[in-house]
């Protein structure tokens, strides 16, 4: 159980050593999520078209460890972009992965940049 979560550690844009090409922007639905595979990781990517922003986080819900966050609903809380897990509606900030319901479990987030319509996700490895 722990080893699933131990795979996912937040990466800041400044720390990223690898920028993985996840796909073309057209591959990702707007205002919701898509999931990509990077090595043994599942990463959820969100195209916040409305805000012209992209975010990425672990696909695993930290509560029940199911690979579902990419299928959740996007939204905002006090202008912070968030994702609501489809299993139990727990919500997480896409900025820092913090839990917005005042509970303990949080998620790992990853930096995203768009270069020539390619979606790149930053990792350290």
């Amino acid at each position: 159980m722990e080893n699933i979560l131990s795979k996912y550690k937040t990466v800041l844009a400044t720390e990223a050593t690898t920028w993985f090409k996840a796909g073309n922007i057209k591959d990702f639905p707007s205002n919701r999520g898509g999931c990509i595979k990077y090595k043994d990781k599942q990463i959820a990517i969100f195209n916040f078209e409305r805000r012209n922003e992209w975010y990425a986080c672990q696909n695993a819900c930290p509560h029940k460890l199911e690979m579902v966050l990419s299928r959740g609903m996007t939204g905002s809380a006090d202008d912070v972009p968030k994702i609501a897990c489809p299993m139990h509606k727990k919500t997480f900030s896409l900025i820092d992965g913090s839990n917005l319901n005042g509970e303990e479990y949080a998620i790992a987030t990853y930096p995203v940049k768009i270069i020539n319509d390619e979606v790149l996700v930053g990792f350290i490895d």
């Binding site: 159980m1 699933i4 996840a22 796909g23 591959d27 990702f28 639905p29 707007s30 205002n31 919701r32 898509g34 999931c35 990509i36 595979k37 599942q42 990517i45 916040f48 409305r50 805000r51 695993a60 029940k64 460890l65 199911e66 690979m67 579902v68 299928r71 959740g72 609903m73 996007t74 939204g75 905002s76 809380a77 006090d78 202008d79 972009p81 968030k82 609501a84 489809p86 299993m87 509606k89 919500t91």
Partner: protein
Amino acid sequence: MINIIVVGNGMVGFKFCEKFISKPGQEKYQITVFGEEPRRAYDRVHLSEYFAGKTADDLSMSTLDWYAENNITLNTSELITDINREQKTVHTHQEKTYSYDYIVLATGSSAFVPPIQGVEKEGVFVYRTIEDLDAIMAYAKKIKQNGATDAAVLGGGLLGLEAAKAVRDLGLNPHVVEFAPRLMPRQLDKGASDMLQSKIEELNIGIHLNKATQYIAGDDCITGMMFAEEKLLKVDMLVISAGIKPRDELGRISGLEVGVRGGIEVNNKMQTSDPCIYAIGEVALYNQMIYGLVAPGYEMADVAAEQIMQGEKTMRETIDMSTQLKLIGVEVASFGDPFIENENVTAIVYENKFSGIYKRINVTKDGKTLLGGILVGDSSDYNCLFQIYSNAMALPQNPEDLILGSRGGESSTMGSVMDLPDTAVICSCENVTKGSICCSITDGTCETLTDVVKLTKATSGCGGCKPMVVDLVKEAQKSIGKEVKESLCEHFQYTRQELFDIVKINKYTNFYEVVDHHGKGDGCEVCKPVVASIFSSIYNDTANKHVTTQDTNDRFLANIQRNGTYSVVPRVAGGEITAEKLIVIGQVAKQFDLYTKITGAQRVDLFGAHLNDLPKIWKILIDNGFESGHAYGKSLRAVKSCVGNAWCRYGMDDSAGFAIELENRYKGIRSPHKIKGGVSACIRECAEARGKDFGLIAVEGGWNLYICGNGGATPKHAVLLAEQIDKATVLKYLDRFLMYYIRTAGPLVRTATWLDKLEGGMDYLKEVIIHDRIGICEALEAEMETLVGTFECEWKQVIEKPRLLKRFSHFVNSDETDDNIEYVPLRDQKMPKPW
């Protein structure tokens, strides 16, 4: 430490403890409670709800830890047998001795069993404790299996009628047997009793007045009751609820003064003839009267607590016996002196046999003072009348306006709750005044209704004052400039109903249009599905149209399960399915290795489908004549049915056929919450139609239509909307009802809760959808007609449009499926591996 021993752990004994520990200086006292029943104090007023599914824990007045937290010792199942007043000790049946400084006797009462020959026979019960109820339930179950159909209740008073309802809930036909010539003889006059009787008889409850029972017939078990005129009433069970008898044994044994007809005498300090011993509640004889209501009992508890702590408070000279309640669905209220009529007092009576309403008020001849009254069939005026009576408020120029309403004018005769004086007692169970409710809001102690209830305990007794408390809290909030609004979420300052109108009027078709024009931010998991559902309800858009704002289940047209896989439920309308189709379902399950289970809605659920496989599964199902069962949607799920008169020898009509027709009519329509239906072909009710949002039962001459029931966390029986109507009328009423619900309910509010919150309740709803009181029936029907005519299977849309298929792959950058999913064996099938 000063020792107080409380004997009896009923509602009043509990209230004494609660009052006592809330008073300053209580630390100097140690309270020890003795209760002979095995459980903590519970709410006897709502005892009959035990039959309706409440548990003993639900009825409990406190939590398990309450006594310990408040430093009170509770000894349950321990009976005090003797008081030694000289040594100031009590003795228990376990031979233990405890010393006291004060005793509070709150032993209450037991059921009065009239000395009728044969009351000891098996099948004769009293109606008093949870244990009594358990015994009644067990016996009813047993005799029903042996074919018994009828049971009697002895006593046509308040509790007797409650017991009759309980008997009915147990599936037996109740007969109420009363010695007096009218029902509720202490509260109602002849006219009111007649009205109540005719309303109750409509529900197939037999009423036998003026009946003196000679003996109980039967060998070992009861088989009937023999009345004075040699008439035998055949029944297989009897519940006695003919009054109460104070439990004054301890008083008698220890030489306290007791009344001729029982009860321990007390003064206005609640002291018995021994100043160190107090008596409260139904055991106390105050002013030569026993008070069998909870409100005076609570007041006595407060007086005794004050007195023990050397306070000043004494019991009032006259005790108010006003009551308002719902008996077997009929509203009944009585206040002040309900019967008074003499040279100085005139009774004004309004009687409407058509709608079953009886109202009486007793007014002084000068037209200035209201002395009492009775309401049957409609007690909505009770709170106002009671306030006018108890505060001796001025009456309108024509006192009859009080019960008839001011005819011809818009303004209400009562004015607003805010017109009451601050001293007006709103909650008489807990003695909470209007002033204390409003102040708690205006001085900032409380913010919400919940806070007020917590602080003042108002509404926590009988609950009859709830509407007034709600109004007062709202008005008080307004008076300090607080906006009172149930808005959806941080993005919309509107209710679902308001948003529904906004979308409809502006013809919006996209969530972001709505949030940009009428909300703020980017939306969230609360408002997005609400708006998506509104679009569907108005335009009958399928869930494929608003993919970004649908909840997960609607987005993938399947139900997400524990491990992130989905379950698939094809529609099996009315639960009727051919062998060929069953085989197809089996083949699909086999091919995709799915766990199968029959659902409660008479169809088959296929679990464990990978996201990628969903369209493939649907394709096979659709090619074989299936369609989506909408098991994932906030929409019609299924209409359950029994087999009906095609096969069943009891069936009165084609329930399965009608269920299929209804399911096909309303399938796919999005609503505030899921909707379920049921159709039974006779009153045996095999389809459990009364546990559904709408239910039909075939009867002689047509269908009975019930609405607003549900199972789930708070089960509710559906309520009768119309009787013996034909199919076309059923469709008409159902169209109107469902559309009215869809238009006005809050998000995720099922029909039962919606009806609870609907002002005016079922009577108002009938006015709207049967009598078209607000003139919207035509529009409701037209709206429903559009929805019915434009159904499309959303599974079919997906497999036919490749661009819609894209969302059914787990990875954007790979065709692999989720490798995180593992299964373990479960009986002959499989289940997700637990973490």
